[in-house]
Structures are given as C-alpha cells and as structure tokens.
Symmetry: C2
Subunit: 191 residues, 2 copies
C-alpha cells in the first residue's frame, strides 16, 4: 500500500529500511469519495497528501464562482495548499476528489519532527519544491506567451493519460479558457 510512496522517495534520496519504516509511521491512509473535499477555502491546512489511487484537483474560486484549477494530483503526486500549510493561515484553495481517491496524509507537526530525525528528508522536499517551481514557471510562460490552442496541445503531450481520464471542462479550467471555447476550438481543429 505504501510502496508507491517509498518508490517515489527512492527516486530522489536513499533511506535505510529503518528510516523508511519510521517515515511510514507518520503517514496515515485516508479515503475520499468522489466530490469529497480534502480542503476548503477558509480551512487551515494541517498536512500534505500523497495520492496513491484516484485523482484530486487543486483549485481556486474567483468572485464569480468560477473554478481555476492549478493542479491535478493523480497517483504519485502530492497535493496541498502550501501557503496555508506554511503560514497556518486560512486556505485560499480548494482540494477535492474527481473520483474515489486514496491518499497518504502527513501532518505538519509530524513532518517537522521528521526533518530533524531524518535530515535527508529536507533534501527530498527541497528537490520536490524545486521541481514544482520549474513546473509553475513553465506553465506561467505558457499562459503569457501561447494561445489557447497551443496550451491545450502542450497539456496533451505533457499529461496524455489525464486527457483521457478528465472531463473536458476541467482541462479547460486548467489551461485557462471557458468550456464553451475549448469545445469550439477542438471542433475547428478537427474539421
């Protein structure tokens, strides 16, 4: 059940079997039903989730009630509201399950402790955060410099499996257009 997490960690750092077990003790399995919230705006995010099954979306809601998806989290990905997590302020993001999902949950206090007990975990999460920076930079450049059609194709080639799995309107939200516009766009390109 936790193999995916250990494998994921082993991609970046190496832990002794003892350390692995110690780390896993801090982690709890949680299940979310489709449409269930992991976090809502106003909550204080008390931990971080590692998805092992299913699919989460992380999004903000604008003042017109429109969702803007900033991340999908399929198995092997982390999801959280980093700002709320770090500052202990109310979240500005929502996280919910697109389908029935299982996550491994780590509370902030536990992770903070682990950092001192297994210092190499600092490296692991440093690398994770740095990779995340790279991703957000590239996405930002896309929204600043590419038309919608090319953002769509970039998404397709970057996340081919998600395209098949996701309702089109979520892809529209992610690339930053209305569902209506994405629909028309796809029709024109095929014709």
């Amino acid at each position: 059940m936790h193999e995916l997490l250990l494998k994921h960690i082993a991609m970046h750092i190496s832990l002794s079997p003892d350390e692995e077990q110690y780390f896993l003790k801090a982690v709890t399995l949680r299940k979310l039903r489709k449409k269930q919230f992991l976090l809502q705006e106003g909550d204080i995010s008390k931990g971080t989730a590692f998805v092992i099954k299913g699919l989460l979306k992380v999004y903000s809601m604008d003042r017109n009630g429109v969702e803007h998806i900033i991340q999908f989290a399929p198995p092997g990905w982390w999801a959280g509201d980093m700002k709320s997590y770090k500052t202990r302020q109310p979240a500005t993001l929502f996280i919910d399950a697109i389908e029935d999902t299982e996550i491994l949950w780590i509370r902030r206090e536990d992770l903070d402790q682990l950092y001192t007990q297994i210092p190499v975990l600092e490296r692991f999460f440093r690398i994770l955060a740095e990779n995340s920076v790279i991703n957000y930079q590239e996405r930002l450049i896309g929204t600043l410099s590419l038309p919608a059609a090319e953002r769509y194709y970039a998404f397709c080639s970057k996340y081919p499996s998600l395209i098949e799995q996701l309702p089109q309107k979520y892809v529209a939200s992610y690339i930053g257009v209305t569902p209506e516009f994405l629909s028309k766009m796809l029709k024109n390109k095929t014709a």
Copy 2:
C-alpha cells in the same frame, strides 16, 4: 558586502560563525553592467545569483521575439534558471541587468558540496523553493482569474518600490499585457 546574504539566511535558519564563513567562501562577487546578460537562452546555467545591488530581470522570449518577464530580482532576491541549473540542459530563460548590478554567485558544484557539509542549508533552500512555489501559484491564479487592471494593482501593492524604479513596459510584460495596452489602461483609470 556579504551582510545582506547572511541576514537573509538568518531569517530562515541559524548558522554558526564558522559555517557562515565557510559558506561565504563558496560565493564570489560579480558585477554586471546595465543590459549585460547573466544568462542567455542556450547557455547551461552553472550557478545561482543572489542580488546585493541593482536589479535583474528573468524572462523568456517567444517566437515573435517578445519578452515575457517571469521575475524581477532586486537586492535580497535570488535569480537563476532552475531548470537548466538542475538538469544541466541549455537554458530557456534569459537573465540580464536592468541597471548596474552586483551579485553573489554560487556554482552548482560548490552548493552541492555545501549541502553535505552544512546539511541545514538543505532546509534553507527548501524553504526558499517552497516560498517560490507559493508565489508562482498566486501569480498563476492571477493570470487565470483577474483582468489586466487588477493584476496591475496587485503588482503595485505587492512591489511598491519596483513600480517607481521600473520602465512601464517591463511591468506590462510581467503582468502579461502589451505596453500599449497598459498605457491606455492607466490613462482611463486616472481620468
């Protein structure tokens, strides 16, 4: 000359005087003239810069030759092409000096060594990267959900000192509009 860097580090972790000196040994002062490049597309980024004086911009160039600024780096900020730095692939970003600038430069090999010699530096750069993630997330949400005028006001309130220092066209690039459009926008709002 290096006080700003030590002060910046001390905000997040504490180093012994010995560690501080050891860290500073890995750092070299470099000066850039206005308009001089620190990094160009195609270069392989061999290090990271901490600005102590002046102002850098980090940007990408689209196929029409238009700059899209992804970050300004005034004193106290870091600048680099994280992707090229980590993967050792040719950079996709440019970095140049908006005005005469002084930076402290750390090469990747030296920083990698320092991570093992002063492990708490992992924590420092983890925190830095995490804060960076928060920033990019917020900016992404802005570009997805706010009209240009509000992105402009958000920029003004977040970076009041930069507004006075920067040519308007760079602000336009950062918030993701053409200089012409920003000019018209400001005229209308004042009138």
